[in-house]
Structure formats: C-alpha cells, structure tokens
Point group: C2
DNA sequence: CTTTCTTTGTGAAATGAATCACAATGTGAA
DNA sequence: TTCACATTGTGATTCATTTCACAAAGAAAG
C-alpha cells in the first residue's frame, strides 16, 4: 500500500509539476500562446495576395487569424512592435519583427525519426520550407529505408543519430516512430543535443527539464472534436432518441 | 481610411470574439482542456500492461500523463468519478466512466477530405480504431483516387459529399486538402451537417458559431518547438556568438 | 486651423485554469 | 480494537491569460 513516491521526505507535499512542455520560462521569454499566435500572424501576412495594401489594422489581422483586435495588439506589444493609429501596422516590418523573435539568426536544423507513412508525409511537407528551419536529416531502423534520400532528405540508420545530430548541430527532433520506441528514440536525441521535440507518437514523452516537448496528439484532437460536435449549443446530440 | 468594419453601428465596441473552436460552452459541458486530458488518461489506462494492478492513484496517473495529482483529481471530479482513499481509482470503471463522457453511445462517424500524403497516413492510422469513432468515408477531386477503397475506407468524388455525409449521419470532418481549398470544403461539409472539424490545412477556417474547429497547425507547432529549443533555461541560444 | 473620426498602446478588471492545503476516509498493521 | 498514515475530494487561493476601456495620436474634411 506504500505509494511509489513516499511523500518526498522533505519536499513540499505535491510535486513541483511540469505545466507545459518544459519548466517555467526564463524572464524575457514569450509564452507558448504568444509564440503560436505570432507564427500564425506571420504566415497569414506572408500569404497575402500581391495587390493587398502594405498596412493592416489589428482588427483585420484578428479576423484573419480568428483572434481579437485587443489580443493582436497585446501580442505585438510583447515583441515591442508598434504601428500608427491612422494606418495600422506595416506588414513588411511586422513580418521581419516576428522573424527576429521566432527565427534563429543562423538557421536551425531538425531531425525526423521514423520514416513511415506519417514521417514521409512530413518530410514532403517540410521540403518546401524556408531555410530558417529545415529537416536536415531523417533516421529509421528499417534498412530498406536507410541510405536513401527521400524528399531531398537523407535517411540514416538509427545508429548514426548521435554523430549526425552532433555534426550538424541539430536542435529540434520530430518523432514519428511507433509508440513503443518513442521514449527511447527521444532519449537518444536528447543525449545527442536535441532540445526541442515534436512528438506524434500517442504516448507522452518523459524527459528531464532542459528539454521542451510538444505533444501532437492527433487521437486526442479527434476525440475532442467529436465531443464538441455533439455538445455544441443547439446540438441535438448524435444519440439515439 | 474607413475601416472594414464600421464600428458596428449599435453593438459594443470590439467584437464578441470567438476564443477557441466555437462559442461559449453550454452549462454542464466540459472545457477543451478537460476533454483533452480525459482522452489521454483513458488511452494510457487502456495501454497498461496485462499484469498491472486494477487500481491506480492520482499521482501515478499524473506521472504517466505528465500532469499533477491535483489536476487528475479535479478532472475526475468534473465527470463525477470517485475513488477510495486507500486504493485509488478502479481502472476498469474509470475507463468506462470516461467513455460515457467522451463517446457517443451510438457511435460517431467521421469523413476525411483530401486523400493525399497526409490523408492516406491518417486513413491508415484510424483504421485500427475503436468503433466509437471511425473514419467512414473519404473524398477527393482526383479521379485517380476516387472510386477506390484505401485502408478499408471508400473514396468518393467530392460531388457526392453532401449525399454521403447526410446518409451516414457523419458529424466530424477531417480536412487534409491544400490550403486554397480548405475553406470551401469545410463549408460544403458544414452544409451537409458536419459539426466538428479537424483542420490540417495551414489556414484558419472561418465558420459560423454552431461549428467547432480544431486547428492542427503543424507548421506553428514546429516553429514553437524551435523557439523553445533555443530559449530553454540554460540554452546558449543557437545564435552566432 | 479646428473638428471629427478611427485606431493604437496599455493600465486595470475580469475571466479562466491550475495549485494549494486540509478535513474526511478507510485500510492494514499492531 | 485501536492507531497510524497515505490518499481522496474540494473550498480557497494563486497564477496566467484575455478582455475592457480609455487617453493619446494623427489623418481627413471642412
Ligand atoms: N499515420 C498517421 O497519420 C499517424 C497519426 C497520428 C499518430 N501517428 C503516430 O506516428 C507514429 C508513426 O506512424 P506511421 O503511421 O508513420 O507508422 P509506420 O509504421 O508507417 O512508420 C513507423 C516508421 O518508424 C520506423 N521505426 C520503427 N522503430 C524505429 C526506431 N526505434 N527508430 C527509428 N525508426 C523506427 C519504422 O521502420 C517505420 O518506417 C506512430 O507512433 C503513430 O502512432 C501516426
Ligand atoms: N503532408 C504533411 O505532412 C502536412 C503537414 C501539415 C499540413 N499539411 C497540410 O495538409 C494538406 C494536405 O497535405 P498533403 O501533403 O497530403 O497534400 P497532397 O497534395 O499530397 O494531397 C492533397 C489531396 O487533396 C486533394 N484535393 C485537392 N483539392 C481538393 C478538393 N477541393 N476537394 C477534395 N480533395 C482535394 C488532392 O487530389 C490530393 O489528393 C495541405 O493543406 C497541407 O498544407 C500537410
């Protein structure tokens, strides 16, 4: 009946507890929500049609991104970007300012582990990607897949992970291996110097502080959507009457 | 200089504003966060090894799911599930209780639109899926893909969407078409009766209240991970010195 | 030049979510 | 049977995020 963790001899009762991907942010570092919204703003602004005006108001950017005008202004405030009351925000400058915050000046490399159905789709998707953040190496245990180049990305055997990650200074890892291997592969990447993880396997990763993990849990997202499809205001619930 | 939205003649200044997928929840309906965590709890409990004990403590479930014991207890409280102070929570009963909350008693059908790289990977992934929530139809404009059966799922031409969705009472839509088509395809699905959307296209969908949308923005997730890989406490930032 | 707009930037307030902390519970050991 | 103790359930509290609301700015019209 003893608990696994015997009430931590001399620490306060309940665990310090990780909230999001990693431990509490350092000062001056944005929150996950801010970063995510800035990423969306930038993409929407970059995707604008050619003839569009060179400025934009907070409420127009809000409408594009399903946000609110106040939220947009707050977000831009956090990166110290200012506009003019009469003309709004300069789009080209805003894109650049977001880039200064989000992008690594010298670029950043990512590695993908598990070149299966999903891994190949992602490799394809990210080839058409800006040089600031690219998948520069892939790894798999299947010898039918290693040694080849898929979607311009070389696929290495897993044994070479440490060497390749170190040599290329890769800091981001994308995990698309079966659930049973995800934890082990993540630890290998961490040991090789990877600091940020995007995990598609349906198992939460357990990594120490000093690693940031984002769970892309498609199963949970699907279940969430299904739940709200039934519980929306005015939904007669898809249940037998 | 006139704004697109002329300060809403008689509504309060700034828009009511959608926060998450849809409008404010009805009373008695869980929050997105609660639903997402419950989904994770259930999957972790179902995936337990055979010999594991039939009960679990909040702090053990918390450790599995990267949550906290207090959080777990709160979540179970919201669905009215109770355990015993001495033995914890009965796992079989808990799985069932979560199912009563998350699953539609009569099952729920989903449709996938866009059978490309990502769409095929998802079809494959969701074939091995419990009957409570299944992808029962796929749609594409490419005649090379329609008429066939991929991963046990029939692929229909887009023109048949309305008829098939209505006939099968499909309530969930998965969007994996190119960004330029996403909004149009979503509107078709909505018109046919789909209420919940999982959008993989890198453009936010604009649907009226009465639809729930979850954006699976892989690009943004990737940029977020890259950002925190550089800004973790103790990260020397991947920038040239 | 002055008036009339609309918008920005931002303290202050409101809302929402996570955490704390502890009384109540009940089990197993003595 | 009684004691000791780890865990549950939950009100209260803290923390984070969003929204409100308004002073300040500046362009256009008269
Ligand atoms: N396919 C999807 O749409 C989808 C959706 C959500 C989640 N996922 C998850 O993503 C992961 C991959 O899915 P998939 O459909 O691509 O599976 P898959 O079986 O097609 O691909 C897995 C790949 O990983 C490789 N692999 C296995 N063990 C490995 C190891 N230890 N190191 C390196 N490579 C290894 C295999 O050789 C294979 O190429 C799974 O965890 C799955 O649950 C997939
Ligand atoms: N591949 C990935 O890993 C990935 C990652 C993130 C986001 N996405 C997004 O998901 C979407 C699909 O990506 P993909 O790589 O599978 O692209 P893809 O080009 O391989 O597939 C697109 C499919 O949609 C079909 N299609 C096109 N227009 C259609 C329409 N109006 N109605 C129905 N079907 C239509 C095409 O025939 C094709 O089969 C894109 O929006 C992409 O940006 C993909």
């Amino acid at each position: 009946m003893k608990p696994k963790q015997p009430t931590d001899l001399m620490a306060p009762p309940e665990r310090p507890a990780p909230v999001a991907g990693a431990a509490g942010r350092a000062p001056g570092v944005l929150s996950e929500k801010h970063v995510a919204r800035l990423s969306v703003y930038r993409r929407l602004l970059q995707d604008r049609p050619a003839g569009a005006p060179p400025e934009i108001y907070s409420h127009d950017l809000a409408a594009l991104s399903r946000s609110t005008a106040a939220q947009v202004r707050r977000d831009l405030m956090t990166i110290g970007f200012t506009g003019s009351p009469a003309r709004g925000y300069r789009i080209d400058q805003l894109i650049e300012a977001i880039g200064r915050t989000l992008d690594a000046p010298a670029g950043q490399g990512a590695a993908l582990c598990g070149v299966g159905n999903l891994g190949r789709a992602l490799l394809d998707y990210f080839t058409i990607w800006r040089p600031q953040l690219r998948i520069v190496a892939a790894f798999d245990t299947d010898t039918a897949k290693t040694g080849r180049v898929i979607h311009r990305c070389r696929v290495y055997p897993l044994a070479e992970l440490e060497a390749v990650v170190r040599a290329q200074g890769i800091s981001v890892g994308v995990i698309t291996v079966p659930a049973a291997s995800a934890q082990r592969v993540a630890e290998m990447m961490l040991a090789a110097g990877v600091r940020g993880f995007l995990n598609f396997a349906p198992t939460p990763l357990h990594l120490p502080d000093g690693a940031y993990v984002e769970e892309m849990d498609i199963t949970t997202s699907m279940e969430t959507v299904a739940y709200f499809a039934r519980h929306l205001p005015g939904a007669a619930a898809t249940e037998k009457p």
